[in-house]
């Protein structure tokens, strides 16, 4: 059983430092197991958030060796253990303690996005009819577990702290799921362009790279919405066409 050194961030919003812990790593262990073992053996006050241990609740987001990951889905056997393994909290949100961040900003953002507004029901009993082909595309976005790793890695939030003017990839995909929904009639393009800062995304695809649900955020949500914004606001020929076309 090899002993592995873990450099774990300890601290709060006022500051902190990496502290070294050693623990045995056994077959099949994930990083979250190691954190629990460290809590049991040497740091009972180490704060860490988790819930399902199955990659489905999105609670255990952190940075392992500098990359945003779910601790419960990061296998120890995939990490080099000849050097210390670093574990830090996410960097784009305020730190509460140790590995636990305050992610409430994300939930506030969500309330600001215009809600689903379906067209009039198709049948008299108040129900709708949809074709699978029409909903195929938006189903991908519904896999999101709100781990906020994509928000964390996005440099617009992480490095440039544009939390006031940019909603981040998770909520662009959330908007895409509504905007591309066959029943929805709401228009969110003006918000996307202005208040939600779609133009801040410079398509570097880091969000796509870290998403544990493998949602193709940049190619399937962000760029298609950028193209819809171009249709509406930047394409002169489209504008000309619209002048002669009755509004739906």
């Amino acid at each position: 059983m090899p002993q592995v050194t873990f450099k774990v961030w300890r601290g709060n919003k006022d500051g902190g430092q990496f502290t070294d812990y050693q623990t045995d790593v056994t077959e099949g262990m994930v990083v979250l197991d190691a954190v629990h073992q460290i809590q049991a053996e040497s740091a009972p006050d180490l704060a860490c958030r988790w819930n399902c241990k199955a990659g489905k609740c999105g609670s255990c987001s952190a940075e392992v060796n500098g990359m945003p990951r779910l601790m419960c889905m990061t296998r120890m056997e995939d990490l080099p253990t000849d050097q210390p393994v670093t574990i830090e909290p996410m960097q784009a949100f305020p730190l509460i303690r140790d590995l636990v961040c305050d992610v409430s900003w994300n939930f506030e953002i969500k309330t600001k996005i215009k809600k689903f507004k379906p067209r009039k029901p198709d049948a008299e009993d108040g129900t709708w009819r949809m074709v699978q082909d029409d909903v195929d595309r938006v189903q991908e976005f519904r896999k999101c577990i709100e781990c906020f790793l994509c928000q964390n890695v996005c440099h617009v939030l992480r490095d440039h702290h544009k939390h006031e003017t940019f909603i981040g990839p998770r909520f662009i995909a959330y908007t895409a799921a509504l905007e591309m929904h066959p029943l929805d009639t709401e228009d969110r393009l003006a918000d996307l362009k202005d208040d939600n800062g779609l133009g801040y995304c410079n398509i570097t695809k880091c969000c796509t790279k870290v998403c544990p649900e493998h949602i193709t955020l940049t190619d399937n949500a962000i760029i298609p919405l950028k193209e819809r914004v171009v249709d509406e606001y930047y394409d002169p020929i489209k504008k000309l066409f619209r002048m002669f076309k009755p509004k739906k």
């Binding site: 060796n65 050097q83 800062g197 410079n202 760029i223 298609p224 930047y234």
Partner: protein, 288 residues
């Protein structure tokens, strides 16, 4: 442009990261790859000569609106030219190179391509250098303001680039029509026999055909093509041309990065191949 009022960890400096992998490799390869291509294509574009050999025309010089070869000692205007010799009305301060007139289209197309944007923002502007790696600057405007709002022109570049594919397809077809003087210029038959004028396939024909295929895969996998073929609709069951075009384009689009690089490298090689033939360094082999 307001910054967050949240109490956030301090911004990390340039290159600061806890990442252990070779995160610098990807931006470095992009920097060197794109840099090398820009240098080569600029050099090739300013040459103004050695862009055609027999039935082959360099893609960097196509469409050959005006032939500048006569200014560089060529006996007569080559048969690829659309409107004849380099006209006197073009002011002398414009370098006599047909490539400079048309290269703006593929250059503009690639410059505004969503894939390349993401790649060169990292490699040439360090914004970010790579994912979860510290950046050199505090300020950030992204594509939200001028000058980068210009990137929204990409769909117009796509229209022009699609026309370009038509022209290059035409060039590849013309590259099967050999003239009498091809052997005299240094062409050789791979399997012996007489080099007759007319239909034939040479290595150059294959090089140019592959070039169109790769450029076509890149161009028609464009996000704008994806948008027009169905991305702009919420009702994929009711698309005027059905779901197939959207699915095909999405399929190309999934590998857009690979198409982007292979087509870029091959365009450079196609020009280089024809340039080497025209300069008499390499021999063109004809299969039949």
């Amino acid at each position: 442009m307001s910054q967050s009022s949240l109490s956030l960890p301090q911004q990390r400096g340039l290159g600061q990261t806890q990442r252990r992998d070779a995160w610098w490799l990807q931006p470095l390869v992009v920097f060197l790859g794109l840099g090398a291509f820009v240098v080569y294509s600029t050099w090739a574009a300013f040459q103004g000569a050695n862009y055609e050999f027999g039935p082959y025309l360099s893609p960097m010089y196509s469409p050959l609106l005006f032939d500048a070869g006569t200014l560089f000692g060529q006996a007569s205007v080559g048969h690829h030219t659309w409107f004849g010799a380099w006209p006197a009305w073009i002011p002398a301060f414009i370098p006599a190179s047909p490539a400079l007139i048309i290269l703006t289209i593929p250059a503009g197309f690639r410059f505004t391509c969503y894939y390349y944007r993401g790649a060169y923002y990292k490699a040439f502007w360090a914004d970010p250098l790579n994912c979860a790696v510290g950046e050199p600057r505090n300020g950030y405007r992204g594509e939200n303001f001028w000058p980068l709002l210009i990137q929204n022109i990409h769909r117009y570049m796509f229209y022009l680039a699609a026309l370009y594919i038509v022209v290059l397809t035409y060039d590849a077809v013309i590259a099967t029509q050999f003239q009498d003087d091809w052997a005299a210029k240094g062409g050789k038959m791979l399997f012996g026999g007489e080099a007759r004028a007319g239909f034939g396939i040479g290595v150059g024909t294959l090089v140019m055909t592959l070039n169109v295929i790769l450029l076509g895969g890149y161009t028609f996998g464009c996000h704008c093509a994806r948008h027009f073929s169905g991305g702009n609709s919420d009702h994929h069951s009711k698309l005027p041309m059905g779901k197939k075009p959207y699915e095909c384009i999405s399929c190309l689009n999934r590998n857009h990065m690979k198409w982007a690089w292979t087509s870029l490298i091959w365009v450079g090689f196609t020009d280089f191949y024809i340039r080497m033939l025209a300069a008499g360094v390499w021999t063109d082999w004809r299969l039949f």
